[in-house]
Amino acid sequence: MSDHLLSLDEMKQVDGYLASGFKIHSVHENLSGMFVEFKRQEEDVCLQILTAEARKYLAAKLLEQTQ
């Protein structure tokens, strides 16, 4: 998959979680990418983001969530 398609896919997943009521709970970046923990009440999921575009997108969503 091209970087662009992969980033679209990752952004779609982010949107999907947010649309279904999840909130970004924690964000960790390391050499393997960005690890985002989403929470909805007791539910907890972790998404690994690989592409630079989606890492930028996630930060924008995080900003929205804090505003």
Binding site: I24, Y57, A59
Partner: protein, 420 residues
Amino acid sequence: MADLRIDLAGIKSPNPFWLASAPPTNSGYQVQRAFEAGWGGAVWKTLGEPILNVSSRFAAVSFNGQRVAGFNNIELITDRPLEINLNEILETKKRFPNHAIIASLMVEPQQEKWHEIVKKVEAVGVDGLELNFGCPHGMAERGMGSASGQVPELVEKQTYWVKEVARTPVIVKLTPNITDITMTAEAAVRGGADAVSMINTINSLAGVDLDTWNTVPHVGGKGAHGGYCGPAVKPIALNMVAECARNPLVNVPISGIGGISNWQDAAEFMLMGATGVQVCTAAMHHGFSIVEDMIDGLNNYLDDKGIASVMDLVGQSVQRYSNWGDLDLNYNIVAQINNDVCINCNKCHIACEDTSHQCIDLYTESGRPMLKVREQDCVGCNLCAIVCPVDGAISMIEKKSTIPPMTWNERQSLISNFTR
């Protein structure tokens, strides 16, 4: 007609174009001819301790048909007696009272030596002093030039000694042979400098002769490192000027030097914070008359922009020069190819395919070869536009971002609240 006069820390000159301290300002004969040609000021070839020069002295780095892309020299300061230089300064100042003559000085780092030479040159009516803490070869071995210019404490102390007796403005000329030039610029300001100038030459070896295995240049089969200048060093010099201009602790005027060859270069240095510029290599390459085009060009530029005085250019771009961490990560540009003017050399395709992001596609339309950028994969690196030989064939177009601006610093501080 715009007003081209400048006032650099109290040193006035009819235009911002000065000759830098170097062979073009070696004698009264030359400086007077330069003033006749239109140069606004001259920093006299450095006066100081007795030296001897060698032969040969210069080498040029040619690149792709440009005879002097870079210039390398192993020449030291003046080899003429101080009294002869002083007489010629006196005579030149008499003939050209409104032009700026600055004495460049370099002596051993001793208080009395600085006091003595400052008094002598000021007695003949120079408009200012430039302390040469920058020469990278020959003098450095004797504790002068860049040897003292690389040590902030020595820059500060020597500037202070000069200021103890100087009655004219003191410019400290800095060496680029240092990791962070703002360190020595700040030291000069602490020592009381009225202005700083930069850059002197960069340590260099122009080349090795593949037939003889001698260095270029060589002196009877032996070489020593020299100082590099000319067009190749301009970006390095411009950054150093800009770094000093945006540093609040370097709150004195800057005289910009390094690779300035035309009015455009001069205007860029002034926009980045230089109050005036100094030129060496371009004058050595093309002669004093290049100043005519520099004056005309700058004047027309100011008129076109509706700017009344060249002093109004100074520093206008400084606030646009910031830290990488303060750049917007979400600002996007992409390449667009105009197939109507493209000559199908494919250089852009090869560059993007081999060394960037593989997003310039080749295809044919009605039998004609065409190129197209896949915008979604283009990172806007500019490489294709840089290598394209046809003006206007590739444009970099702003692409509106769907997410708001965010800098790296903003992003990191935001994320840091979520690293639980």
